[in-house]
């Protein structure tokens, strides 16, 4: 199997689906001839034709609105929002429409669709190219939210999302498009090649939605993470020497409650990590769930390690980013708790 980085793996997933299902089509800003600002749709228009992968006007609400109509017709559109920071003009179409169509029509109309969007910081993108928007969608009944952390999962989860009959928000941690990043920004960047999860089959396969992946077994403490933060959590486990179990959630809605519950009941301790702003972040939901499910097993307070309650400041990227030191510190505190 060829080693793929995350961009190649996503491209391969899209290529497979365009091949397999004539109802799949792709559109978004700059995704056509050019192949997307992150090159995820590179070559797809040339290979599959102008109407299978094309540019859209700069109108995120129009993109999602049109995709809903297409989904209702019977297609399976996959749209790209160029940066998650620019998804807000589509918020009404996502929240009031994509998420509600099935319910409000008693399944008379449905709109299967996948909304792909690069998200997260660590690329010196400043406040409007760095945001983690997941918690603004996990509250919305009717939407699913998926976040991969490596090339293998990225492909398998993207195919599963496209084949899913509900609207799926598929957030791509852009900091790890080209290589895993554990938050040690002072160290040289490593590529995906060589990483076990970069062995990506060229063919169609799926990674099921709703299933977490335990990346590291441990018995003292559970770390819940997703996206880039999975790698940060692994580094923190390594750095701290704590026997931590690191769980990559992969799907936030529906979250894999069984995996979470089993792990925290085993370890009795839990740290939750995400890059988004703390207040009302998805970590709050995880904390509440863990506490509800595992109260009598908890030996210390659950901690959240997150971005601060500020916008993402350009010059303070690494002060904002919850890196391995902050995670390790929290892990130690929880171990002492």
């Amino acid at each position: 199997m060829p080693a793929m980085n995350m961009i190649q793996a996503l491209n391969s997933a899209l290529d497979n689906m365009l091949e397999k299902d004539p109802n799949v089509l792709i559109f978004g800003e700059d995704v056509g001839f050019f192949g997307g600002v992150f090159r995820v749709t590179d070559g797809l228009q040339k290979k599959h034709g102008l109407t299978r992968c094309f540019d859209a006007p700069i109108a995120e609400g129009g993109i999602v609105g049109a995709a809903i109509g297409m989904g209702a017709y019977g297609l399976r559109p996959v749209v790209e929002i160029q940066f998650a920071d620019y998804i807000y003009p589509a918020y009404d179409q996502l929240v009031s429409e994509a998420a509600r169509l099935r319910y409000r029509s008693a399944a008379d109309f449905t709109a299967p669709m996948t909304i792909r969007s690069p998200y997260g910081g660590g690329i010196f993108g400043g406040n409007t190219h760095s945001q983690s928007v997941e918690a603004l969608f996990t509250h919305v009944a009717g939407l699913k939210t998926v976040i991969p952390s490596n090339p293998y999962d990225a492909k398998g989860l993207l195919i599963a999302s496209i084949e899913d009959d509900d609207p799926v928000l598929f957030l791509e941690p852009k900091r790890i498009y080209n290589g895993p990043f554990d938050g040690h920004h002072e160290k040289p960047v490593s590529p995906w090649a060589g990483h076990p999860m970069s062995d990506v089959p060229a063919e169609h396969y799926t990674v099921p939605l709703g299933k977490a992946h335990t990346l590291r077994e441990g018995k003292d403490l559970t770390v819940l993470a997703y996206g880039v933060m999975v790698h940060v959590a692994l580094a923190a486990a390594q750095d701290s020497g704590i026997d931590a179990e690191v769980i990559d959630l992969r799907t936030l809605v529906p979250v894999d409650i069984e995996a979470i519950e089993a792990s925290v009941k085993k370890t009795g301790r839990c740290v939750i990590v995400h890059e988004a702003t703390r207040t009302s972040g998805f970590g709050a939901e995880l904390s509440a769930l863990v506490q509800e499910a595992c109260f009598y097993h908890l030996e210390a307070p659950i901690e959240r390690v997150t971005g601060w309650d500020t916008p993402y400041p350009h010059a303070f990227e690494w002060d904002y980013f919850p890196g391995p030191e902050r995670v390790a510190k929290a892990m130690r505190r929880v171990m002492e708790g």
Partner: protein, 409 residues
């Protein structure tokens, strides 16, 4: 360049308010038959004046004249007239049903019946309509069961959408009627997307969408017209200008500055302004737009110029913000009476037939009412409560399964 003049903020106000005499003297209403009818493949740039005219077919005497006369056979017109009468009877009864506490909410389309009833006859049932809450005429014209509409309004055990939506938010794929949203404007880009999908598949179906004058201000209106123009989507984009958006007159949406049809010009789309109370004009304009769409020539904007004769909804009281007599004085008249006069003039209808069908319509509605009320009105009957956890997703996830259990189902 410095300024010297103090600026001032302009807030538009209608000419008249409660207590004033209604005044329609500012309206410029071209005579029936006076607007030209270009061929459907005429470049949009050459048809711009259509956005400023007013396509009218029925003259003061009820004769059909001019190039836009669609020459519809009398049988079809009678169907249209009956559909309008039935719609009006339905509205009347459901309005009263709300007043009697049988449901929580209702919205009439009084005075605007020609819009949906004429258009339903032009479009096929395979075409998809993306309506607002004021196009019940589409369903009624197509023969959707009145009792089923009432079941929805009553959220009763037979409500096809399982008690989930506010009354009048119908949904019927089989009748080419897209699920209505409470959020204004959202249906517009969806209709464009649906039309793009039909074109993408090489199918022959077209889409139509409706929006109110007020809701044209939403961003979705703009993205829809942009997408429709860029991808030449086979869609008819109707703007129902009934002069009011709840208590806000059309000027609050920009209607004092230019016509709503003119919006289409900005996107290079053909845009027709049509007397919405003239059944034949609505029919003809819709036919023209549908032909363009079916010929792969893309989208058309239609402004249907009409008047909201009733309350916005059962929660509204127009006497608070407009002269009580305004509705009665609307210079373009009543679409029902105008079509009836036309048919009577042709010898294809009579006052007796009219009165008889009005009774028949009332009877049809009453029968449907009995049927629906036998199942139950709001609160008396409802779908199985456990179904409230269904259709959030295709399959219930653990949260919904647990919550359903927690709710006791």
């Amino acid at each position: 360049m410095k300024n010297t003049q103090a600026l001032s903020l302009h807030v538009p106000e209608p000419q008249t308010r409660p207590g004033d005499e209604p005044d329609f003297t500012r309206l410029q209403l071209p005579a029936a038959g006076s607007v030209e009818r270009p061929g459907i493949s005429t470049p949009a740039l050459q048809m711009r004046e259509l956005a400023y005219g007013l396509i009218r077919v029925l003259d003061e005497e009820g004769r059909a004249i001019g190039p836009w006369n669609p020459r519809v056979d009398p049988e079809t017109l009678r169907r249209g007239l009956k559909a309008m009468l039935l719609t009006r009877a339905f509205d009347d009864r459901m309005y009263r049903a709300q007043r009697q506490g049988k449901t929580s909410f209702y919205m009439k389309c009084t005075g605007e019946e020609a819009v949906a009833c004429a258009q339903a006859l032009v479009l096929t049932q395979e075409d998809m309509c993306f309506p607002t809450y004021r196009q019940q005429g589409l369903l009624i014209t197509r023969g959707y069961p009145l009792a089923t509409m009432m079941n929805q309004i009553y959220s009763n055990a037979s409500d096809p959408i399982k008690g989930r939506q506010l009354p009048v938010m119908y949904s019927s794929k089989a009748f080419g009627f897209f699920t209505i949203s409470g959020n204004l404007g959202t249906q517009y880009p969806q209709a464009v997307g649906w039309a793009m999908a039909s074109a993408y598949k090489g199918d022959d179906k077209i889409a139509a969408a409706w929006i109110g004058d007020g809701a044209t201000a939403e961003g979705d209106f703009h993205s829809a017209l942009t997408f429709a123009s860029v991808y030449r989507a086979p869609v008819i984009l109707n703007i129902v200008n009934n002069q009011w958006a709840i208590s806000s007159y059309h000027g609050i949406a920009g209607g004092d500055q230019t016509t709503f049809a003119a919006r289409g010009i900005g996107y290079g789309l053909p845009a027709l302004r049509v007397d919405g109370n003239d059944f034949l004009a609505v029919y003809a304009a819709t036919e023209w737009a549908a032909e363009r769409a079916r010929a792969n020539l893309g989208a058309t904007v239609l402004e249907l110029y009409t008047y909201r004769a009733a309350q916005h909804s059962t929660s509204d009281d127009p006497a608070r913000y407009r002269p009580a007599e305004e509705a009665g004085g609307w210079p373009l008249g009543d679409p029902v009476l105008r079509l009836a006069a036309h048919l009577i003039g042709l010898g294809e209808w009579s006052n007796e037939q009219h009165a008889a069908y009005q009774q028949e319509a009332i009877a049809l509605v009453r029968a449907a009412g009995k049927e629906a009320e036998a199942i139950g009105t709001l609160g008396q009957s409802r779908p199985e409560a456990a179904t409230m956890f269904e259709d959030v997703y295709k399959d219930m996830d653990w949260r919904l399964l647990r919550q359903k259990r927690e709710a006791g189902f």
